[in-house]
Assembly symmetry: C2
Homo-oligomer: 793 residues x 2
């Protein structure tokens, strides 16, 4: 649901009231609290909201609250939707119920209206239990999650109520809610309150349990019944216990508000941020305070919320997919449950000659997803950077064993100019030195870097630009991406010649030795979202694979020994490593970007992370072929791949990754991206992709992308899968550029109606601004972001 | 609970039956299943067990089952404890209820007895809801967790039952149970079954929901009631639906069994294990299949369980604390809930100039725990290895800035022989080359390595042994560890002289330059559990800190510029890095091992991981002083600390770490280790520790450790905190040693009565075998392990 903001007001103290079950006294507790707040704070407003009520109107919860607080002038009870059948809302909703989004919008609007009326207390009573379905069958605790209101749980005093109460609290807890208080009626037979009080006090963050006398027994005579209830409310709402409880709730609210508002400032003395020049961060306003996240949005502290009535929180669209990890949205309950299940089953499993089920299931699932006939083995590590180090160790060893080098000569890598592979030293050394890494002690680029031709859409025309500046144009992206067709052409021959020439120069001419080639396929991420001509990467792979004569120089063995027999998927020339940490697993619309390179142009080693766990926790997989794996087989322990971390193949990460892959794979199979695919493939172009290369498509609207490419401030644009990158026209190029900063600052500061008042947080890469969607980002959010971009350009 | 094994039998198909609430028909479903199993499988046995029943015996659930299955010869209904009050067990238990351990043991014994009686079905009916308290107030789902039985959930057909049913399932799910089927009675008014059926079918791993007609309404006349119920059972238990359901349950059981038994074999084609020479792993028997874990035990596939009646699973004590990560036990629900809460609140938070509450809370909590007055800032990364790379970047930059080196001369580290800091290239380069890392391409040790004197207990006497072979003896460990007292002595002077001499030789003599010192304090972990004389490390730190004149050689600045003013915690000489990844956070009994080095001998940079998250997920923190931090401040972005990972300071990790630290800290404050401390401090020794140095203690019994140190096969032993390491006498030293392997193989293969039939999985380091407890390992497990060790020595 785009734009519906979490809610934390300076002026009103708001709670959502959940019940451990139906019939536990939610409405009675709500009435007690509403009445007590109105009594104890006569200068303030007290709000009671029951968004959806089922059962006859006269018995409805807001009528009940009205009846017992009607004598107080400062109470506003309200119900938004009233259905007469006393059953679950999803059964009475009828064929066209109001959408969840419209219901939540109205609740949100009502909260903001209440906040603007000055100080007060607000109690929102939910319906049924925590998972009771809404009109559209969404479990309630999930439905209300975007608002993330502080929570009161009404526990169950009946037989079995200890269990339902704990289960309800845990259900709320794992959905990211904070429960401020538990209320329960005293029952001296079952004595649930005693157990629950000690249970909730023993939690990591203890929750106070308020024990109240139960309401009077229901009487036949309705007037008598009401009289007895009125007397009950009079006593309980007026009690010192409730007064103290309300004070506690106010204090908690104040502490929450203050903690949130001072978080950035307090962090400035403690936190060392990554990649940050702290002398530029002295103003706490430079730090974004993130209170929670949901779907495609962060809930951030609103810097402009100075009015006492203002909502402190604001929806901020996560336009960089949270460092490219997001596919299924923040705080996805499916992933949470997968993580918690594995944590509850295993905790930690030491992966020393051991196996657990999620590790193997993930290996199988990953290899099936990637459909790379070369891959046979999966090695797990913790993140992209360590995954790259593993890949390097694999590739270089395989080359050394094959070519039987025994001298001490340095072995380097072949790589690509503008590549980035991570921040550990081995990964850093796979990149050319630049202004950013050159001052890091111990870093030195240990390789030769090819300069790639790039692809960009300029004024409606796709261009392939050579490093020399030469440009060839294509009518459609399909033309650029139809590698199988282009392999027959002159450009391919030129690329192969160029690569071969460079290799000869550095190997024969300069006498250097190489042990592996590492490449980011199709899009160089951190290097500036550079779209590389896939034909060039194809030529690179083809040429390296056919240049055994060059790479084997210095080997004591003879040429005949270098051709593996009996394994058509064995590496030749050099092991090819694809760093697909960023581009893999549907980021570019395909399970692997290597499918854009055409028939059987698969890496020998591939690294996967980012979308692998959908942002829940770190995990990386380095996949390798049989011929790579076999280079480590010997009778000696010290020839093994000597790499491992405590959490190698940890069960929690593997279980989450299985779930994440499964959701993306089944989405792909079910055609959830078909509308986007059609958008990109029905455009008027002549070229059609041949069978072997994957067809390019994007979640970003094709006509809009073409329009933007002609914008006067835009130098060019690329869109592929969920990635959109816009190169701005600017005099100063490179990272130091400020045009992008200015544009993004405006997106960040304004509240955009296209996103229902949300702002947009994106990250620049020099003069490139990029926007990255999740794999489940709704179309209205995508189009909203497009609208915002168009406005700020 | 030591030794109580998870249960998965070849012969009997076992299910625990949980209810979403009380009064949802658990006993009726149990009766239906028991009767149906007996009818459909007349050649097999059918078991029904209600471990604890409350309510009058004649109405008890086992009596109910007996009544309606009594006509069948192959049914055995049983109840173990019967209480007459119809309330929760914890209320009727009385002052001395049977212990949870004895109850679970009896259940376990009963299961094994049933399994040995040939093929059949076993239904264990729980009491109340999933969290209903046991006799000793433990929530039931936690209580039964060690058995981890396959689960049947009886859902709630009443109003509100959708919510309680989903919440109950999630509560079981996050405790690591697998639910094979959900049963629910049809109620055509509330229609919960429809919603639940589609809910459970939509899960990542769908669960079949079996909808049954409800039982006949209760009748006044007890004979009539029984007649109606009997007719009901006759129909439902005889139905095709139930027959198919039983078949499905049998199939699931078969699939589970087969998946488990073939897991290792299937993994052999897919998995690339860390540190493993795969040519030695060709036999699937070399791979340990881990089905789950709980507390201090893994549940592993039993290789010897060939009998059809055998339990396939076996408790295996995790004697290496799961690669040193375990403090609070495997599958700790507190940590699971912390992880799930943060996942539900945030998912992923991009930590680019952003802050979230758990990141700051952890930074504060960590610095408070460590009580290192130098530390001011916390930088987060993913694991110990990346944390070390961060520390290196910090330290070397600080030195370069202070000493204003501008030439291109190599900057090295000072380190310690036998240190190990991780497997990424930068971390590897902080260790001396050895047989294991020397063949890794790109690795070269970039430092000078001090040879440390070591501490060991031999034949009841603590020895400090110099690299030269010289030995000094101490009467007690307290004497060795009383660094403050020893600082006055000759040994300290000798150490300082030695260190100074070595520094002069490599810096003045060899012209080398150093940028930081990195040290594992007190115990070198992967290097062989080597206990280093703390006085030596103290001398090392003192000498390095006072040798600015040496380290500043080559600086264009003058001596006066090297003394920081106004910051008494600023580094001098070289930045000192303590790699406390393994030894930190109570592993050695203290929040930080640096407290063993005496007054104010704190590092400038420290790295923490392992126990930080109690094994739930990877996270590392590198802490640094103000003077380190300030070396990165400038007007230039490129002078920032250029390091970061996608999951830097990820909220899930931080939240779990906060919980883990809090549990350990409050345990420390509450004196949970007091008995161990007393054990070590009341022994007859003359030395007493002075105020400034922390007193050593261990969870391993002192007298037992002394005894072991005199064992004929033992060369020496160390015990500190939760670490115990025994050096075996052997002709061949080093990693290749097989004496340790032989000893550990026996511990692994036998079932030890000391651990109620469990075996012990430990890892060797050369001729050293080590045993590492968690911070909450019960004393009976510790003493059990000691008993096993004594037997196999």
């Amino acid at each position: 649901m785009p734009g519906i903001s979490s809610f934390l007001s300076r002026s009103i103290n708001t709670h959502q009231i959940y019940g451990a079950n139906t019939n536990v006294g939610k409405t009675i507790i709500s009435t007690i609290l509403t009445r007590a707040a109105a009594l104890n704070y006569p200068q303030e407003q007290t709000w009671y909201l029951k968004p959806i009520s089922t059962g006859e109107a006269k018995d409805a919860d807001d009528s009940h609250v009205k009846r017992y607080t009607g004598d107080l002038p400062n109470v506003t009870p309200k119900c938004l939707w009233q259905y007469s059948d006393p059953v679950s809302p999803h059964l009475v909703a009828g064929p066209t119920p109001p959408s969840d989004h419209s219901v939540l919008s109205q609740v949100s609007n009502y909260l903001n209206m209440a906040a603007s009326s000055g100080p007060g207390s607000f109690f929102l009573e939910t319906a049924g239990g925590i998972h009771s379905p809404t009109l559209n069958r969404v479990p309630q605790a999930d439905f209300y999650r975007p608002l993330r209101l502080p929570t009161i749980l009404v526990a169950d005093p009946h037989l079995g109520g200890i269990s339902t109460s704990i289960a309800a609290h845990e259900g709320l807890h794992i959905r990211g809610y904070d429960t401020d208080a538990v209320f329960v009626f005293r029952d001296n037979y079952y004595r649930n309150h005693e157990y629950l009080q000690s249970h909730f006090a023993s939690l990591s963050k203890p929750i106070p349990t308020i024990v109240l006398p139960g309401p009077p027994p229901r009487q036949e005579d309705s007037a008598e019944d009401q009289k007895a209830l009125a007397a009950y409310y009079e006593v309980v709402s007026g009690s010192k216990l409730i007064k103290r409880t309300l004070e506690m709730l106010k204090e908690t609210h104040e502490m929450r508000r203050e903690a949130l508002e001072t978080l950035a400032q307090r962090a400035q003395d403690r936190i060392w941020w990554p990649f940050a020049q702290h002398s530029e961060l002295l103003d706490p306003g430079k730090i974004t305070t993130i209170d929670s996240a949901h779907g495609d949005f962060f809930s951030t502290l609103s810097p402009s919320a100075s009015a006492p009535s203002a909502n402190l929180l604001q929806q901020t669209h996560d336009a960089s997919a949270s460092w490219w990890t997001q596919g299924l949205g923040h705080a996805n309950p499916q992933l949470t449950l997968a993580a918690a299940h594995a944590a509850g089953r295993y905790g930690h499993v030491m992966f020393a000659n051991a196996i657990h089920e999620p590790a193997l299931r993930l290996a199988d699932s990953l290899l099936q997803t990637l459909r790379n006939p070369r891959f046979q083995r999966v090695f797990y590590s913790d993140n992209g950077s360590t995954g790259v180090e593993v890949a390097l160790k694999m590739g270089m060893r395989a080359a050394r064993v094959r070519y039987a080098w025994t001298d001490k000569k340095d072995v380097e890598v072949l790589g690509m100019d503008g590549n980035y592979h991570g921040d550990t030293m081995g990964a850093m050394d796979c990149s050319e030195s630049n202004i950013f890494n050159e001052s890091v002690e111990w870093h030195k680029g240990r390789g030769y870097w090819f300069k790639p031709p790039t692809v960009i859409l300029r004024k409606g025309v796709w261009e392939v630009r050579q490093p020399s500046g030469e440009v060839e144009t294509f009518e459609g992206l399909e033309g650029v991406m139809d590698v199988e067709k282009r392999v027959g052409g002159k450009m391919y021959e030129m690329y192969c010649r160029r690569v071969k020439g460079e290799l000869e120069k550095v190997i024969i001419g300069d006498g250097r030795r190489f042990g592996a080639m590492i490449v980011e396929p199709i899009i160089l991420g951190a290097g500036g979202m550079v779209f590389v001509d896939p034909l060039y990467q194809r030529a690179l792979v083809d040429t390296v694979r056919s240049s055994t004569n060059l790479f084997s120089i210095g080997s004591p063995k003879s040429a005949g020994d270098f051709t593996p027999t009996g394994d058509s998927n064995a590496w030749t020339g050099l092991p090819i490593i694809f760093d697909e940490v960023f581009t893999g697993l549907y980021r570019l619309g395909q399970p692997t970007p290597s499918s854009f390179l055409g028939s059987n142009t698969h890496p020998d080693i591939g690294i996967y992370a980012k979308l692998l766990t959908g942002g829940l926790l770190p995990l990386s997989a380095t996949c390798a072929s049989k011929s790579i794996f076999e280079a480590f087989l010997s009778g000696k322990k010290e020839d093994a791949l000597l790499h491992g971390h405590s959490y190698t193949a940890h069960a929690v990460g593997c279980e989450v990754a299985c779930t994440s892959l499964e959701v993306m794979n089944s989405g792909d199979e079910e055609g959830v991206w078909n509308a986007h695919k059609e958008d990109w493939n029905t455009h008027t172009t002549t070229a059609t992709t041949t069978q072997n290369a994957a067809a390019p498509w994007s979640v970003w609207s094709k006509s809009w992308v073409y329009d933007i490419s002609s914008h006067p401030n835009v130098d060019g644009v690329i869109a592929l899968g969920s990635v959109l990158a816009i190169t701005l026209k600017t005099s100063e190029a490179g990272y130091a550029s400020s045009a992008a900063q200015t544009m993004l600052a405006r997106m960040r500061e304004e509240r955009w109606e296209e996103l229902e008042g949300g702002n947009v947080m994106a990250r620049p890469l020099g003069n490139v601004v990029y926007f990255m969607a999740g794999q489940k980002t709704p179309v209205d959010v995508l189009r909203g972001v497009q609208g915002v971009i168009a406005k700020v350009l």
